[in-house]
C-alpha cells in the first residue's frame, strides 16, 4: 500500500501544480491532504478547486478552520506584533478572495481521518491530523521530548500519526512497548507543499508505504519517503509582492523559511 500525503499548500498554486505533476510518477494507491489549503498567498479559490476537482480526501487545517467560519483568527500562534500585523493582512485578504462555495467546503472539512488496517493479527492504526490529535494548531516539532510524543501517540491510539502545521518534515520511530514485546509507533510530519520552513524552498510531500506483513513489532516495516520538488518560486513570490500581502511572505517563499 502506497499513500501520498501532502499538507500546508497555503494558496500557492504554482507549488500545488508542480506537486501534482511530481506525484503522478509514483503510482500511489491513495492520496490525502492534511489541510491548510489557504492563507499567505493569492490563490485560495484555485487551490481549493484543484483539490476538490480531484476528490482528494482532505482534513481542515487551522487556517481553513478559521476562514471556513468567517473568523479573523487563524489560530497561528504569532509571537511578535509584526507577525500579528502581517497575519491580519493575510487573513483579511483570504476572507475577501474566497467565494461562498469554497468557504462552505472549508467549513465542512473533517478534523481527522483514521484508517485502521487489519494486516495480520493486529490492527495498524493510521491517524491523519493537521497539528496534533488534541489541537488543530498544536505544533509538533522534531525535538519534542520522547515522553511527550509517545503520550500523544498512545493517547490517540495511533500506530502511525501523520501531521503537518509546522512545515518542517521529520519521521521519528518510538517504542511504546519493551524489548520483549516492542510496539513501534511512527510520528511523521509531512512538511509543506506551498510554504516550507525547513530552509529549503522546494515543496515537500511524503510517501508512506507498507506491505501485508507490516506490523508494530517491526520498525522497518513501515517506510516513509520525503520528496522534494522544484516549482516556480519566483512566480509565487511576485504574486505576493504585487498583492497587499506583506513582502515578508515573498521572502519566506524564496528562502524556504
Amino acid at each position: 500500500m502506497k499513500i501520498i500525503l501532502f499538507s500546508d499548500v497555503h494558496a500557492n498554486l504554482p507549488a500545488l501544480r508542480a506537486f501534482f505533476a511530481d506525484a503522478e510518477r509514483h503510482s500511489a494507491d491513495a492520496i490525502y491532504c492534511l489541510g491548510d489549503l489557504v492563507g499567505y498567498n493569492i490563490w485560495p479559490n484555485e487551490v481549493i478547486e484543484a483539490v476538490r476537482s480531484r476528490r482528494i480526501s482532505t482534513i481542515a487545517g487551522n487556517y481553513d478552520f478559521g476562514i471556513g467560519r468567517h473568523s479573523d483568527d487563524c489560530g497561528c500562534a504569532y509571537k511578535t506584533d509584526e507577525e500579528r500585523a502581517n497575519g491580519a493582512i493575510s487573513i483579511s485578504l483570504t476572507n475577501e478572495l474566497i467565494n461562498d462555495d469554497n468557504r462552505t467546503y472549508l467549513r465542512t472539512l473533517p478534523a481527522h481521518i483514521r484508517l485502521d488496517f487489519q494486516l495480520n493479527d493486529e490492527t495498524l492504526s493510521l491517524l491523519l491530523v493537521h497539528g496534533s490529535p488534541r489541537r488543530i494548531n498544536e505544533y509538533l516539532f522534531e525535538d519534542r521530548s520522547e515522553n511527550s510524543l509517545l503520550r500523544i501517540l498512545k493517547g490517540a491510539d495511533a500506530d502511525i500519526l501523520c501531521f503537518g502545521h509546522t512545515h518542517q518534515p521529520f519521521h521519528r520511530i518510538l517504542n511504546s512497548g519493551d524489548d520483549n514485546r516492542p510496539h513501534f509507533r511512527h510520528a511523521i510530519n509531512i512538511g509543506s507543499v506551498g510554504k516550507p520552513k525547513d530552509r529549503d524552498n522546494r515543496g515537500t510531500y511524503a510517501i508512506l508505504e507498507f506491505s501485508e506483513s507490516s506490523s508494530v513489532l517491526d520498525s522497518n516495516s513501515v517506510t516513509v519517503t520525503f520528496v522534494k520538488f522544484d516549482y516556480d518560486v519566483e512566480t509565487a513570490a511576485r504574486a505576493v509582492e504585487e498583492s497587499r500581502l506583506p513582502d515578508a511572505y515573498a521572502e519566506n517563499l524564496r528562502n524556504g523559511y
Binding site: 500562534a77 497539528g131 489541537r135 498544536e138 505544533y139 521530548s145 511527550s148
Partner: protein, 128 residues
Amino acid sequence: MATDQLYFSPEHTWIRLEGDSATVGISSFAQDELGEIVYVELPRVGETFQRDEVFGSLESLKTISDLFMPLAGEVTGVNQQLADEPTLVNEQPFTVGWLIKFRPDKPEGLHELLTAEAYNRLTKDQEN
C-alpha cells in the same frame, strides 16, 4: 487572591503557604509567555523533590516548559481538573489553575524567594 500573599521563584512559579501546606502555580507572566496550555504533566501524591528540581511540565501549542520546585518537600495534592481543562492555568493561574500542593521540608525557606513586588520588577526587566 491578592498576590501580595504569594512568594515567587525566578522560575515563574508562585507559592502560598498555609500552615504546613503549600500551594504552587505559575504566574500570569508565565502563562502569557507560554500561550494556550494543552497538557499539564504533574507528579503523583507522595513524590518528593528537592528545591529547583523539575516536578512536572506544561505543554503549550508551541513549547514544553519544565516546572521547578520552589522549595523541597513532599507532594500532598495535584490539581486533577487540569487533566480535562488545562487552559484553567491560563485563565486563572492564581486560583483554580493551581498545580500542586506540597509539604515543605523547610517552610522558612519561603523568605528566600521573591515578593510579588520583586517578581514584578524581574519580569518587567525581562520584557525590556
